[in-house]
Symmetry: C2
Subunit: 305 residues, 2 copies
C-alpha cells in the first residue's frame, strides 16, 4: 500500500476527513512530517527548514480560514549541532511571527535522517471546507505558483552531491529565499467570510483542483493566461510549456485555492493583502477539470525527486 492508498484508508476510517486541518470545537489542528531525503534538497539551510516545515502547517491552518494560534515542532537528527538547532528555531519563530502565531518549541529526538514533524493550531468559528464550491463560482488563487519549482531548480544549480560548488552560493541563497514562503493566514481570514471552498496548493494547482472537485462534486474550467507564474521560474526555464507545467503541477507553493461567488469578489479583493488571480469558474461535475478547454490531468507533487 503506498502513501496515497494509506491516506485514503485513513480517510475512510476517521472523521473529520478530507480537509487541510481537523476541526475540534472552535479549534483547527494539523500535523505534517517532513524529512531530508524528500523535502529538504541539498543546500536547504536549517533556517529555511524551520521556516518551511512550520510554515507548511500554518498554511493548513490558513486553508481552513482560521487564525493561527501556535505551532510546535519535533526535531530529529543524527546529531544536534547547536548552530543548526538555533537556526531551525529562528526560522520556525520567524514564520510564526509573520502570521501572528507563537512558536512554542517541541521535542528533540535522535534519528538517522533529519526529520521534522510540525503541528499548528488555530481558531475559527466558521471553518471553510473543501466541499462547498458551486457551479458559477469563480476559482481564485493567491500569490504566485512555481516558487518551489524555481527553488528546486536553484538548489540543483547551486549544489552537487550535497556540497555547494564555488561560485554558486548566490544560487543557494536565492533558492533558500524562494523556499521560504508566506503562509496565507491573513488571506485565508479575508477569504473566509465569502469563500465557498478553500484549500492550499501544497500538492500543486492541478491536484488541488481535482481534490476540490471531488470534495465539492463539481468541475473546473480554468484558463492558463491568468495563472500567476513565479518570475523566478520564468527566468530560470525558457520553455513556456515547461514553465506552465511546473507552475501547475510541482506544488509545495502553499498558496490558497478558493472558490468565491462572483458577487463577492470585490469584497474579497478589498480585504485581502495579496494578489488574487481569477483562473476560471466552477462547472458541473460532468465537465471535469479543464485547462484552456482540455482535460487537466490529476498529477502533482513530484518535488524532491
Amino acid at each position: 500500500m503506498d502513501e496515497r492508498a494509506a491516506l485514503a484508508l485513513l480517510e475512510d476510517e476517521l472523521e473529520p476527513v478530507g480537509d487541510d486541518a481537523a476541526v475540534v470545537d472552535d479549534l483547527v489542528i494539523t500535523t505534517d512530517m517532513l524529512h531530508e531525503r524528500t523535502d529538504f534538497p541539498a543546500g536547504t539551510t536549517r533556517y529555511t527548514a524551520g521556516w518551511r516545515s512550520v510554515g507548511a502547517s500554518l498554511s493548513d491552518v490558513a486553508a481552513m480560514g482560521a487564525e493561527a494560534t501556535a505551532a510546535v515542532a519535533a526535531y530529529a537528527a543524527p546529531e544536534f549541532d547547536r548552530e543548526e538547532l538555533l537556526e531551525f528555531v529562528r526560522g520556525a519563530t520567524d514564520v510564526c511571527e509573520r502570521v501572528g502565531a507563537e512558536y512554542v518549541g517541541g521535542d528533540l529526538d535522535d534519528h538517522q535522517e533529519f526529520t521534522v514533524t510540525t503541528t499548528a493550531i488555530g481558531r475559527t468559528d466558521d471553518p471553510v471546507p473543501r466541499s462547498g464550491a458551486e457551479p458559477g463560482d469563480l476559482v481564485c488563487v493567491t500569490g504566485t505558483l512555481g516558487r518551489s519549482a524555481a527553488a528546486l531548480e536553484l538548489f540543483e544549480r547551486g549544489a552537487r552531491d550535497g556540497d555547494a560548488v564555488e561560485g554558486d552560493a548566490d544560487a543557494l541563497e536565492r533558492a533558500n529565499d524562494c523556499f521560504c514562503f508566506e503562509p496565507r493566514v491573513a488571506a485565508g481570514r479575508a477569504l473566509a467570510p465569502h469563500a465557498t471552498a478553500l484549500m492550499d496548493s501544497s500538492d500543486g494547482l492541478a491536484r488541488s483542483l481535482h481534490q476540490l472537485a471531488a470534495a465539492s462534486d463539481c468541475g473546473f474550467a480554468i484558463e492558463s493566461a491568468p495563472i500567476p507564474v513565479s518570475e523566478t521560474l520564468q527566468d530560470l526555464v525558457d520553455d513556456e510549456t515547461e514553465v506552465l507545467e511546473r507552475a501547475t503541477t510541482f506544488g509545495e507553493d502553499f498558496e490558497l485555492v478558493a472558490t468565491v461567488p462572483d458577487d463577492a469578489l470585490e469584497a474579497v479583493r478589498s480585504a485581502i493583502d495579496v494578489e488574487l488571480s481569477v483562473l476560471g469558474t466552477v462547472t458541473d461535475p460532468a465537465a471535469g477539470v479543464t485547462l484552456d478547454g482540455d482535460e487537466l490531468e490529476d498529477c502533482g507533487y513530484t518535488h524532491g525527486e
Copy 2:
C-alpha cells in the same frame, strides 16, 4: 551535543520553558516523537504503539492540569500495512476516548524506521506549572510505578531478536497490557485546584523530583515505604532493591507527581479517581532530594537499552 544538552539549549532560547506542555492563551499543546529502536520493544503491537504514543502526549496535557481536547499523529513506516495502520488508529482512538479527547488523524510518511510524532492539545484557564512547590507541601504520586519496567521485562522474556518464541505469546500479551497506560487527565483535573506543582513521571520518579526541585527551588524528603510499586514488577523481579530501583528510575509510567498543601489532601483525595500515595514532603533546597534520608540520585530514563 546530546539530547539533554540540546533540550537545555532550547529551554534557554524559548519561552515558555520547562513545563510538560506549552501554554498559549487557554490552550496547552505538546508534541513528542517516538521511534521503534528506542521506544517500541520487539513485540509491541501497533495497537499498543498507537495507544502509548498518543497517550504520552495526553499525559503531558494531564500534567498541566488541563482537559484533553484532541490529538493527532504523524505515522511513518518503511511500508504501510493496512492492518497495522488500522490497529495504530484503533489504539490512538481508544486512548483518546478514555480521557474524553478526540483523535483526529494526522499525516503519513515514508520512513526507514517506524516513527510516530504525536501532538495533543488541551484547555485550562489555570495551568499548574512545575515551579510552585513550597516547603511543607506533601509530595504525591498517582497510580503505581514500574509498570513500564515490568512491560520491558515481559517483552524481553516474550521476544528474542524480534521474533516471538513459542509459548511466550502470553508474556507478550501481558507486556502489551502493561505498556498501555491510562493518561491521568481526570486526576490532573482533580489535582489542579490544589496542587502547587505538577508534572508527569515520564522520566522516572527520581528524575521528576529533581526536575520539580530545580523548577520550584526546593528539596524533597521521600520515603520508600509508600512508593506504589507495580505488582507485575514485584512478581517478575525477586530482589526488592532492584524492584525499588526500577520503579523509581525506569520511568515511562506517565503517572502524575504533584505537590499539595497538607490541608488540601482530603479535598484532592475525595475528587480524584485513582490511588494517590503520599511519598513525603517538600523541603528547603539545601536539603536536596532524599529517599529514606539518603541522597536520591538524578537518574532515570534508561528504557529501551
